[in-house]
Amino acid sequence: MAGIASSLTEKQGSARGGTPRVIRNPLWVRVLFMTIAFVFVAFFLVLPLSAVFGEALRKGLRVYLASFNDPDALSAIKLTLLTALCAVPANLVFGIAASWCIAKFDFRGKALLTTLIDLPFAVSPVISGLIYVLVFGLQGWLGPYLGAGDHPWFGEWFNQQDIKIIFAVPGIVLATMFVTFPFVARELIPLMQAQGSDEEYAALTLGASGWQMFWRVTLPNIKWGLFYGVILCNARAMGEFGAVSVVSGHIRGETNTMPLHIEILYNEYNFVAAFAVSSLLALLALVTLVLKSLIEWQHARTRKDAASA
């Protein structure tokens, strides 16, 4: 579901809401529009968010805090952090590489490559998990070699390493990498295209080497876009449910991420604990939104500076 993540370059921050204009809708239309918008936002956004914290604290702060004093919850938190720690840097490196070749060079197949990068957004999370089961699962392509040991080379190797992918941590990381694949690249490609290559050329004429150019000129210029992509990528990586659900195997204390742990708690009618863990993820979402707004605000400001000079 392309196009949404990359609001940074498209958004001009030119909120015209404040400028007084003679021509505007009549008062009753404005009041009606505002009312509808507020009611809609209240029911679909504010209420669910408040519900998370309300339900978590329903039985008081002590019960809320006690929910985290559970080894399974802690291990879920750890696994979620570990997953994000693997998936986000991988997609970060990928995003930089992809945007570099797409934004700075012309080559045949560029449009196709750009479309393919967006592909994971169009795939249902459940299917994102399923395809990894097809590759690594017991009935999958590589599955028979994993642990079965009947492949002349790989089987032996996998056996010795005792590698499990599906229903284990590697599968969770892979599925998460898939669903968060486009975030950083989508943010950087339009940004780098808009910035052009003149500063890089200038660095080269001044004698900079390729890496010096990258570290001193390119990277500082894209750092906000990069950060923006990373926080969105991270929010999704920590919160992914469907894809991870398919590949995890739901082994308590071992292969449960936070969202999966929430599901188990909820299905066991342990609502306070479920909402307590949820509240952590909701906080993460709030922090993400705040950071995102701050970056957009910062971006709009530097744009305005650049334009007014």
Binding site: L204, L206, G207, A208, R216, N221, T302
Partner: protein, 351 residues
């Protein structure tokens, strides 16, 4: 350092940007590459700088006799100034200028204090001493352009290349800055090539003007040569104003064209507006009969728009206001036009 480019060609897909161009720039000269947009002038400049490669096997670039065709941009010792400045937006002015020194390998890198000295000297040279700690977006367009120049000079280039250096500035700043560039060039005496599409700019400050059109060089010469002796119809039309008259008109005018020997039956003759003399119409007198249509007398010189009686084509004439007053012309008057100097080109008929 002199620059020689031989037989440079550059194609982008099916589009030809340069078709076998040769260029010689003498040491210490200020050279303008002048031409309409799409004529290949920026491509030529970027190839000289090493920012673009000429078509494989097409030609060579020599700096002071030394082949630099395969040298990367950073090794060519060129200073390049970009049209839109390309200042590093996240660095201060000081850091921008120091960049080229700071990226050097440790053994070639000047010490911290030497770098600071050099940057401050350059800031003084471009008259922006107090702006070192500002960021590019806090500067005006003209200031940014000067910082871009200082940054290019910091690495002590042997050649200075400027791509439409004043293109993004408003008219007044443009004028100031180009005079400043000329003075500046006389002070530091660095071989300099700049690209422009503004003929006034090129004619005013360059030692040598190179006129480009359609991926080729049309003419190379001093500003005066270019203006007085255009080598082709294109140059004639591109530089200054010009009237294109049919050759029959010339026969009537009894003018002394610069190379009148090779006129063809329906050839064309190029005449500058100020090379046409207006005289009162007398029957039998030599000259092109024309009717005055408009008189524009505002400005230092008067401009007349006339219509030839024979073929109803328009002619522009420039004359002093004193002459205009002595002629006492009104719209609708019949006059005779005499050409003081005119050109024609044979190669128009090469088809």
């Amino acid at each position: 350092m002199s620059i020689q480019a031989t037989q440079l060609s550059k194609t982008f897909g099916t589009y030809t940007a340069l078709a076998g161009v040769d260029l010689n720039v003498e040491r210490g000269k200020l050279v303008a590459l002048l031409g309409p947009s799409g004529s290949g002038k920026t491509t030529l400049l970027r190839i000289i700088a090493g920012l673009e490669y000429a078509d494989p096997g097409s030609g060579r670039i020599l700096f002071h006799g030394e082949d630099v065709t395969d040298e990367p941009a950073g090794k060519r010792k060129v200073g390049f100034v970009f049209q839109h400045y390309a200042l590093f937006r996240h660095m201060t002015v000081f850091e921008n200028i120091a960049f080229g020194l700071r990226v050097r390998k440790r053994r070639d890198r000047p010490s911290r204090s030497e770098i600071a000295d050099r940057v401050n000297r350059l800031l003084k040279l471009v008259q922006l001493e107090s702006h070192g700690s500002r960021y590019p977006h806090q500067l005006s367009g003209g200031q940014r352009q000067r910082i871009a120049l200082a940054r290019a000079l910091a690495v002590e280039p042997k050649v200075l290349l400027l791509d439409e250096p004043f293109g993004a500035l408003d008219a007044k700043v443009r004028k100031e800055l180009r005079r400043w560039l000329r003075q500046f060039h006389d002070e530091i005496n660095l071989t300099t090539v700049f690209v422009t599409h503004d003929q006034e700019e090129a004619l005013e400050i360059a030692d040598t003007v190179v006129i480009m059109n359609n991926a080729r060089i049309e003419q190379v010469g001093t500003p005066q040569e270019i203006y007085d002796r255009p080598a082709s119809p294109f140059v004639y039309q591109f530089i200054g104003n010009v009237n294109v008259l049919r050759a029959q008109a010339l026969a009537q005018a009894g003018a002394h064209a610069a190379n009148p020997g090779t006129l063809h039956a329906d050839g064309q003759v190029y005449v500058r507006p100020h090379d046409i003399e207006v005289t009162p119409h007398l029957p039998g007198a030599p000259g092109i009969a024309a009717v005055v249509r408009f008189i524009h007398a505002a400005g230092p010189a008067a401009r007349l728009t006339l219509e030839q009686v024979q073929n109803r084509e328009t002619v522009e004439v420039e004359t002093s206001r004193v002459t205009l007053a002595s002629l006492d012309l009104k719209v609708g008057d019949l006059v005779n036009l005499r050409l003081r100097q005119a050109h024609s080109f044979d190669d128009d008929y090469a088809i």
